[in-house]
Symmetry: C2
Subunit: 247 residues, 2 copies
């Protein structure tokens, strides 16, 4: 058995998320099916750095699997790519030792979130951005982002459905860049871990702050109250990209 | 009754084409449903400049319909847009007289076709380009495009399923621009009419010419033989855009 680490990018539009589901097209399911062709039917289990929901994209998702056999990493990359549909691309492959684990070894992750701020959305951005056609004071968003950096209890920002008890996470950086040419606000968050839907809830809250519907330092209050009902909104899946995973 | 002309753009990825079909999400179906909300249930028939297939996009599809009532065109634009899903946008609206017909009044149409020439396709281009990762001599493509311009019998380039007897059409311009920055070849065709799948068959033939698998002047032969079996391939729907319709 040889353990391979692959970095993959995918357009999440036509996937029912990352995680294998019977009869539904998922990223894990498609990759496992390709690998079982290479092993002549032997099941190979794929482990991802984490799940992505339906419609969520990835520039740099990381997976690992144990392959019954051995080939150079470059050959594995070509072999898997030749079996991938066009909306998944393997961008790099390497052989790793048995201590590497795509999920348990994660040190940091970076997510990107793209918001289309135009009054009308461009139809060709529909599956690739969130849409916020309301008043938005980017300066307020920038101030609020500073409150996110550091170690905090993110209980207010965890969707129900998660099973993780400890909701303390560290955010190393949280930025937003407004691009006038395409009227988009692009967020980036790097942290040691993210709870279920956490980035999408953070973005929805940041947009409400930028709109003036919340105090610019509302994050400080939300960290204290630890109540999901207080953060309310969830930005749509279509704007979210898993950008990079660090080990 | 007031006749309105609307120009709409749409991302065809999640539509089963333009034409109304029971229980399937189509552009015509979605627009007619929106209009019937505005008329409190009264059916309004929408006429398009022509059909687009599943996965085909539009920057400037034109439709018309007779609305039981009267409002300024700007209000119609806002009202319809407020009922559109985010993957359709009404970009302009005007009131026209009863002689205007979106289909029968067409003088010229321009289609665009985007080809991703990279060895691996970018997953985020999957639903927005065709993919041709083979040798491609753009100079040969340019020479072949000149043969297309003018009045020709396009019988070799009409998919079965069309019912139109006369397959003579005039192409006013046929161009290709290679963009190095994103490794894309972008075709544009303007003509007085296009047969079913004609643009996609022309593109597939042009790519074979650029690849050297066909003579650079093979179009002259194909116009003569009038045999769909000779042109063979059809480029994928995902690369095709109805760019503009002229009346």
């Amino acid at each position: 058995m040889t353990r391979y680490k692959l970095t993959i990018s995918y357009d999440g539009t036509k996937f029912h998320g990352f995680q294998r589901q019977n009869d539904l097209r998922t990223v894990q399911g498609v990759v496992e099916k390709a690998l079982s062709k290479m092993t002549k039917g032997k099941q190979v289990n794929v482990f991802g750095s984490g799940r992505t929901d339906a419609g969520v994209h990835a520039f740099g998702q990381v997976i690992h699997f144990d392959y019954p056999g051995m080939m150079p990493a470059e050959n594995m990359l070509k072999a898997v790519n030749s079996l991938m549909p066009l909306d998944i691309l393997v961008s790099s492959a390497s052989i790793v030792d048995e201590n590497f684990h795509a999920r348990f070894g994660v040190k940091r992750k970076t997510y990107q979130y793209r918001v289309d701020c135009g009054y009308y959305t461009d139809p060709f951005k529909r599956f690739y951005t969130g849409h916020y056609p309301y008043t938005l004071d980017v300066d307020k968003v920038q101030i609020a982002l500073k409150d996110l950096v550091g170690e905090h209890d993110f209980s207010s920002f965890a969707a129900s459905g998660g099973v993780i008890e400890n909701k303390v996470r560290t955010i190393y950086s949280a930025t937003a860049v407004y691009n006038k040419s395409n009227d988009e606000l692009v967020f980036e968050f790097t942290g040691n871990g993210f709870l279920y839907n956490m980035v999408r809830i953070l973005v929805a809250t940041l947009l409400e702050i930028g709109n003036g519907r919340r105090d610019v330092h509302d994050f400080l209050r939300l960290f204290e109250v630890k109540d999901r009902q207080e953060a309310r909104g969830t930005a749509p899946a279509s704007g979210l990209y898993l950008k990079e995973v660090f080990y």
